[in-house]
Amino acid sequence: MNASSDMSFLTLVAGASLPVQLVMLILLITSLFSWWYIFIKVASIKRAEKDADHFEETFWSGGDLSKLYEVVTAGRRKPQGIASIFEAGFKEYVKHKQQGRMEISDVMEGARRAMRAAYNREMDDLDAHLPFLASVGSVSPYIGLFGTVWGIMNAFRGLSNVAQATLTQVAPGIAEALVATAIGLFAAIPAVIAYNRFASSVDRLSVRYESFMEEFTNILQRKS
C-alpha cells in the first residue's frame, strides 16, 4: 500500500466495507431526523411559551370571562396551550350551570376533569419526539462504535495475511472505521443537549399549566 495514500473524507467513506457503510447511512438518516425534530421542537415550544405569556396577560388583566371565552373560541384555529385548558374548563362549567339543579361541588368537579383532559392532550403534544431524541442520544454512539469495531476487525484480519506488518497497512482501515464513530457522536451530542433543554422547557410549561388550572378553579368556584 502506498504510504502517502489519499485519505480524503470521501475516499474514506467510499473505501469502507459494506456493514460500515450501512452503519454510516443509518447514522446519517438518524442525524437528519433528529435535527429535523430539534428544529420542529424549538419552534413549537417557543410558540407555546409565547401563547402562554399572551394568554396569561389577557386573563389576569381582568375583564369578563365569557367575553374572553368568545375571543378564544372565535379564532379559526383550535385554541392551544393554556387557552385550550381555559376553553375546556369554562365550557364544561357553563354547560353544568345551564342544567341547573346541580351541586356546586359536582360542577367544579366536572370543570376540573375537563381541564385535566385538555391538559393531558397539551402535554402529549409538548412531549412529542422527546423519546426519539433521547434514543438517538443514547444509542447512536453505540451504532457508530459497532461500525468502528467492525472496520477495525477487518483491518486487522487483513493484516494477518501479510508477513511484514506495518502501520500503513492498518492505518487506512482504522481511519475509515473511526469515521463511523465520528458520525455517531455528531448525531448523539446535539440530540442529548436538545433533549435536556426541551425536557426542562416542557416541565416549566407543565407547571405553568397546572398552576393556571388551580387558579382558574378557584375563580370559577368564587363565581358560582
Binding site: A3, F39, S44, D125
Partner: protein, 262 residues
C-alpha cells in the same frame, strides 16, 4: 405520525434547516480539515528523479507493434542513425534514440546487449538489402522481431536500472544515517587512537528506533560506547527514503563507527 398536526407549519422549514446544518458541517469538514497525510520531504530527490526518468522512458510509447510498410529505400541509407529531434516516420530511429539515452544513464549492464542488437540490426539490414525485391513480407517479419527484442531489452534495462537506483538510494541513506549519528557523537570521550565499534539498530518507518541499539562490537572503551549510543538516540528520527518499498532494507541496520576518523 411523523409530526403532530400542529407542528405541520414548522415541519418544512425545520427540514430545510436540518439539511442545511448537515451540509454546513460536511463543508467545514472538507475545507478545514486536512485529510491528506503529509510526509516530510527528504533530500532523496536526485535519485528519485533518476529512477522516474527511467520509468518515464519506459512509458514512451514504443511504436505500434505493427509498423506500417515503410519504403525500404528510405531505411537503407542510414547506417548510423543520426539523432535528429522529432523523427517521426521511422520506429527504429526512435528506439535508437531511446537506447542512447538509456545507455548514457546506465553505462555498464547494457552495453553488451546493445552491441549485439546493433549487430543484429545490421544483419537484418543486409538481408533486407539482398532480398529487397522479393520478400517484403519477410522483412516486415524481421522488423517485427527486432522490435520485440528491442522492447524486451528496454524493459529489462529499466528493471536493472531501477534496482541499481534503489541500491544507490539505500547506500546513500545509510551514509546519511551514519553522518547524522556521527555529528552527535562526543568525540572527546573516545580518547586518542582509532577505536572502531559496531552497533545494530532497528528502525520503524518513521525513522525512529524500534528498540534500543545493540552493541555488536565494543571499542573497548565503555565511555566511547555510551557516547555513540547516546548519539544514536539523539539523532532520531533518522533519515529514510520516501519510497516505502525500500524500507525493508532499513529495518535492521548494522552500522560501523570510527568516531576519531573523519
Amino acid at each position: 405520525m411523523m409530526v403532530r398536526q400542529r407542528e405541520n407549519p414548522d415541519s418544512f422549514r425545520a427540514g430545510v434547516f436540518s439539511v442545511l446544518v448537515h451540509a454546513l458541517l460536511f463543508g467545514a469538514l472538507l475545507i478545514s480539515f486536512n485529510w491528506k497525510t503529509t510526509h516530510p520531504i527528504s533530500i532523496a530527490q536526485v535519485e528519485l528523479w533518476d529512477s522516474v526518468a527511467v520509468e518515464g522512458q519506459k512509458a514512451v510509447p514504443v511504436p505500434e507493434p505493427a509498423p506500417k510498410p515503410i519504403p525500404i529505400e528510405k531505411e537503407i541509407p542510414k547506417p548510423e542513425p543520426v539523432v535528429k529531434p522529432e523523427i517521426k516516420p521511422e520506429p527504429k530511429v526512435e528506439i535508437a534514440i531511446e537506447k542512447k539515452k538509456v545507455k548514457k544513464e546506465l553505462p555498464k549492464p547494457v552495453t553488451k546487449t546493445n552491441d549485439a542488437l546493433a549487430k543484429l540490426q545490421e544483419q537484418a539490414r543486409q538481408e533486407a538489402l539482398k532480398n529487397k525485391p522479393t520478400t517484403n513480407d519477410a522483412i516486415k517479419k524481421l522488423q517485427q522481431e527486432l522490435l520485440n527484442e528491442d522492447k524486451a531489452a528496454t524493459e529489462q534495462q529499466a528493471a536493472t536500472a531501477r534496482t541499481a537506483a534503489n541500491a544507490g538510494v539505500v547506500d546513500e541513506f545509510i551514509a546519511k544515517i551514519q553522518a547524522k549519528i556521527r555529528s552527535h557523537v562526543n568525540k572527546t570521550l573516545c580518547g586518542d587512537g582509532n577505536p572502531e565499534l559496531k552497533f545494530e539498530i532497528g528502525l520503524i518507518p518513521t525513522g525512529e528506533l524500534s528498540g534500543s541499539p545493540k552493541l555488536v562490537k565494543s571499542s573497548g572503551n565503555p565511555l566511547c560506547d555510551d557516547a555513540v549510543e547516546r548519539a544514536i538516540r539523539m539523532s532520531e528520527p533518522l533519515p529514510l527514503p520516501q519510497d516505502a518499498s525500500l524500507f525493508s532494507k532499513f529495518r535492521n541496520l548494522k552500522l560501523t563507527f570510527r568516531p576519531n576518523e573523519d
